[in-house]
């Protein structure tokens, strides 16, 4: 499985007054490990997650995935790596509103092309069933509750069976019970399926469900 390593990662926004989002981050996430990133608002939690997920590039330092220095990749190579090896869950579900839950989950698989249409359909069904959405496969996002939408988003993140799952405040719009269920699911995905899971949360109780908790303040890690 995949190991994710950040070495001395710094991200600075250029401008008349440069803003440092994260500074000198050293972090290792091992296969089968569930890491929670916590910290106050504006501490750089999401910025770090976007850097780990290759959505953003560090201005200094490196991010290594399975021995590959991802900072040397082109934008297209990074996109290909995201498609095949990374799954994202955001605070907002970001489901495509014109498509059913089933089709939303099928989209990453159809894009990757590893499975044929029939196999992709079957896997999407399995993922939705696993997340308790068997009766909601044909519904569009506006016909689902907040918790159901977020579970569809998780199913979509898992569609291409990525070894790394990254979640940015995935429970921000959920009630406490649904939030608990989601974090327990992340823990199971790490422990039972050997995935590396990194979740950003400001909820200390939820963070306690993770194997390890990393706290950021002003863009730097203060405890790990």
């Amino acid at each position: 499985m995949t190991e994710l390593i950040a070495r001395q990662v710094t991200r600075e926004l250029p401008g008349p007054v440069p803003v440092t989002l994260v500074r000198g981050i050293d972090l290792e996430v091992h296969p089968g490990e569930f890491v929670a990133i916590t910290g106050p608002s504006g501490s750089g939690k999401s910025s770090l997650l976007y850097l780990l997920g290759l959505l953003d590039r560090p201005t200094a330092g490196t991010i290594v995935m399975d021995g590959l220095d991802t900072t040397t990749l082109t934008a297209d190579q990074a996109a290909d790596l995201r498609l095949a090896r990374l799954g994202f869950v955001f605070q907002f579900h970001f489901l495509l509103p014109e498509f059913s839950a089933q089709t939303n989950v099928e989209i990453p698989m159809r894009k990757l092309g590893r499975l044929d249409d029939r196999a992709a359909r079957r896997r999407a069904q399995e993922l939705l069933d696993m997340l308790g959405l068997a009766d909601h496969r044909g519904k569009r996002p506006d016909q689902l509750s907040g918790g159901q939408r977020q579970r569809v988003a998780i199913a979509r993140a898992l569609a291409n069976d990525p070894p790394v799952l990254l979640a940015d405040e995935p429970t921000g719009n959920l009630d406490s019970h649904s939030a608990q269920v989601v974090f327990e699911l992340f823990r199971d995905l790490a422990h039972d399926q050997g995935r590396s899971v990194v979740a950003v949360t400001h909820d200390v109780q939820l963070a306690a469900l993770a194997d390890r908790r990393v706290t950021l303040v002003d863009g730097s890690i203060v405890t790990t």
């Binding site: 790596l81 498609l83 955001f90 489901l95 509103p97 894009k111 990757l112 979509r156």
Partner: protein, 417 residues
């Protein structure tokens, strides 16, 4: 079988904004349909006109005239010198083509070229107290047959040979007949500028369909024309017809070089009208382009709105692993779909309009006479209009598509919370 993913997403975007998509489609369809209808009508008229003048007129006319006025000997000797001649009295030249027989023989020997000598001039037709001005062309029927299709256009009378069988016979255009109230077999007085008056009998009336020709042209035997003009044994025109009409301009240039006389190919004879056609075509293409541009603004608007509305979707697609080019392709495909569908609808609509115009019957008299629209149907109109619509629709989609592909997913997911 499922649609390709990009196409599937693009289609859903368009279906989601059904009303705007329909308006854009309508714009493209109307642009295409009007192009086909207008092009068919205008080119139909233009081609008909050209076909008629090629049919009825000689392809090259050699005139007893020079393109450049003859230069004075002193100007030839001191070329470029400070020579200024004033108060010159030009020499009275006897009009007519000198050495016409040699010219006719030389041209007649060449393959694919047919020649006929004529003498043209102005006359006045007097009938029933009414005077009608006209041009008279003296011709030799058996030679004239080879250079024009005058005989085919006879609507009264059957043959040019009637000029031989009737003493002082004349063939007139139906416009001339109408203006003078003249009918077949009428006896009319023909008065020439030199004062010769002949009583002539109408042995034929023709209708070429070209208004100018039908309203002013008359034909008599060459000998009679020479009598009318008081110019015995003179010809002032050599009419040339070619098997390959496209060779008219080079042949005219060659004749001018060889014989010195002005030789006008059919394009030059009808230069005014052909010039109007160019302007007409420019107006047509500009009008249709304007319609398509407006339609493209519609497409641009739809796709820009979709890009704006779908910013979050673009963010998630990119975070999922869609490349910039994939995103761009989705939105360009939307423009392409509107372009293709609009073209197909426009083709059907255009076909319908053209066929409808074809059923309309009315008398029209402009450069040519016709009963209803003269339409030219060609796949080229469909190909040009389709290509214009699809290319412009794609270009209209390209700008917002490029903007979409450049959106930074981090900015989107940060702003969406």
């Amino acid at each position: 079988m499922a649609l390709p993913l990009g196409l599937h997403i693009a289609l859903q975007h368009l279906l989601h904004r059904r009303r705007q998509t329909l308006v854009s489609l309508l714009g493209v369809s109307l642009g295409v349909a009007f192009f086909i209808a207008i092009a068919s009508m205008m080119q139909g008229f233009q081609r008909d006109f050209i076909a008629r003048i090629i049919d009825i007129q000689p392809h090259v006319i050699v005139k007893d005239d020079f393109r450049e006025p003859p230069r004075q000997p002193v100007e030839q000797v001191y070329e470029g010198g400070a020579v200024d001649l004033r108060g010159l009295k030009p020499r009275e030249e006897t009009r007519g083509i000198r050495g016409a027989r040699n010219m006719l023989a030389a041209l007649d020997e060449e393959p694919g070229i047919h020649v006929a000598p004529t003498l043209s001039g102005n006359i006045l037709l007097r009938f029933g107290g009414k005077d009608v001005s006209a041009n008279v062309t003296g011709l030799v029927p058996e030679q004239q047959r080879k250079v024009t299709h005058l005989e085919k256009d006879l609507i009264a009378g059957t043959s040019l040979d009637a000029l031989y069988t009737t003493a002082n016979g004349i063939i007139i255009g139906d416009g001339v007949a109408k203006r003078g109230g003249i009918r077949m077999d009428d006896l009319i007085s023909v008065v020439s500028p030199v004062g010769v008056v002949l009583k002539m009998k109408v042995v034929g009336i023709f209708s070429s369909g070209v208004t100018l020709v039908d309203n002013f042209e008359t034909y008599v035997l060459l000998k009679k024309a020479q009598i009318l003009q008081n110019r015995a044994n003179v010809i002032n025109r050599v009419n040339v017809r070619l098997d390959d009409v496209e060779q008219a301009a080079p042949l005219a240039a060659r004749i001018e070089r060889q014989f010195g006389y002005r030789a006008e190919p059919w394009q030059e004879q009808s230069r005014n009208v052909l010039g109007i056609f160019v302007i007409q075509n420019v107006i047509m293409y500009s009008t249709v382009s304007a319609i398509l541009i407006v339609a493209c603004f519609g497409i641009f608007n739809v796709i820009s709105t979709v890009v704006f509305e779908k910013t979050r979707d673009i963010g998630i697609l990119k975070s999922m692993g869609f490349r910039d080019a994939d995103i761009r392709r989705i939105f360009v495909m939307e423009g392409l779909m509107v372009g293709i569908l609009g073209t197909l609808i426009g083709w059907s609509l255009g076909y319908g309009i053209v066929e409808f115009m074809g059923t309309l019957k009315f008398d029209m008299e402009g450069f040519v006479k016709a009963q209803g629209f003269i339409l030219y149907r060609t796949p080229r109109h469909y190909a040009i209009s389709g290509a214009m619509a699809i290319v412009s629709a794609t270009l209209a989609a390209w700008v917002p598509a490029r903007r979409a592909s450049r959106l930074n997913p981090v900015d989107i997911v940060r702003g969406a919370g």
